[in-house]
Point group: C2
Chain length 265, copies 2
């Protein structure tokens, strides 16, 4: 699905660096301000520590930043929105103006970045290209509640979906989640840090199979796991889209899209 | 999981009616105010139309309200939070005070009710006890974006999880989602209305198997489906909990909890 197009743009945009200079990945961001320009909102990298991060999350972050020093791992920046000019073509082609008013189109935000600091999804992802592993460090805030005091099963599914999707995207370019199969073992306490570990298991043509588990920081508790999450490369949306460049776009073969992969009219 | 305990409490609380009178289910609620008492926040029923609901969603709502007239269907009210006194025991038993500060505990909100009107999850559920069917009418707002212009796969998983969980809860009381297996067929446009249809297929001991599909309003487009979502009755959390009453608590037999169903210490 195009979820990962958007994620890719947000990430690529970050790697080129925002105008006006760039913060070092490990450094503290500007304090969250209640009023700021839309430019700052778009360009703020959310995958760095903020005051809401608990001790465990910060510790894990530091450990992974250390792994980045020799280049074997890299931290993925993360943004709330794609700059308007980059997606204008895309939205014009795909959006139905009868559904979304102009005002709503300008309000859209990445779901996982739609909460104020500390209230929703606090996370950062690290990727190892050699191992084809994506690790997401995640802390779920009080607005993600399901059972009293615990993270909603749908919020867990959201982070698993995001992690496996990014894992496949890094390996294969534009992707779409076709299947998610999640086993919930134990509830995750709100405001606790967990690691979401995903691994690319195999590639069959345009299909990428990724497994994933969600563990406590000390690795003693398995909270959830996703087996054989299937993510598919989606060629149909790329061809004809002039704004999208995927440097590492790799497919073992080119297959025509199935009928059910075309967006319904 | 206890997600459904919380949902049940929120629903039962509603059926008894809030103090100070009760709005008719089909009537327009008070306009959303930016400043209001916490009592009003807790007691506001979110499963009634508000100005953000599009034409399709309102039409579907009216159709289902009509089905409720003979009692064969009922609308489920939905709240942002459980009143503090009802969950105090629960939270004291289960929450780790090292993880959540007092301030954070008072900030918790049901994930699917954590956005301002029109920005996130707009939905209402209707249940048929005779058919054991739960239908959720859902409209995803601009803060649920995944691919530009479309609903995030995790937001879809959230609504599927919520719907199948409520379906099983109505049939069997306190439940926990054990497995979710979702096939994503087509992306759902932001701000469009869809129906999430779930059906209780079978009960095996404490396991409830529910199937579910997500369709367009005209039923011509299948967006996603969940096959054999497994929801389990969780007796361990009920015994010893004095605050919880489940009027229709039914189990075909009583089995001891497996080790992996106990919350890890």
């Amino acid at each position: 699905m195009l979820r990962s197009c958007a994620a890719r743009l947000r990430t690529l945009g970050a790697l080129r660096g925002p105008p006006g200079g760039r913060r070092l990945p490990g450094s503290e961001p500007r304090p969250a301000l209640r009023s700021f320009s839309s430019e700052e909102v778009i360009l703020r990298d959310y995958s760095v520590p903020n005051p809401s991060w608990n001790k465990d999350l910060r510790l894990l972050f530091d450990q992974f930043m250390k792994k980045c020093e020799d280049g074997s791992w890299k931290r993925l920046p993360s943004y709330k929105r794609i700059p308007a000019e980059k997606i204008q073509n895309f939205k014009t082609h795909l959006l139905d103006p009868k559904l979304m008013k102009e005002e709503q189109m300008s309000q859209t935000q990445l779901f996982t970045r739609s909460f104020d600091d500390g209230l929703g999804f606090e996370y950062v992802m690290f990727y190892s290209d050699v191992e084809k592993r994506m690790v997401c460090l995640f802390q779920g805030g009080p607005y993600l509640e399901g059972p009293p005091g615990f993270v909603h099963g749908g919020a867990i599914a959201t982070m698993i979906d995001t992690t496996v999707g990014m894992c496949a995207l890094m390996a294969g370019g534009v992707v779409m989640t076709a299947n998610l199969n999640i086993n919930y073992k134990r509830p995750i306490p709100l405001c606790s840090a967990v690691t979401i570990n995903s691994q690319l298991d195999k590639v069959e043509g345009r299909k990428f199979f990724v497994s994933c588990n969600v563990q406590s920081v000390d690795e003693k508790t398995l909270y959830s796991e996703a087996t054989n999450a299937e993510v598919e490369a989606n060629l149909g949306f790329v061809s004809g889209s002039s704004w999208l460049q995927i440097p590492n776009f790799q497919h073992q073969d080119s297959l025509p899209l199935r009928d059910d992969q075309h967006r319904s009219a």
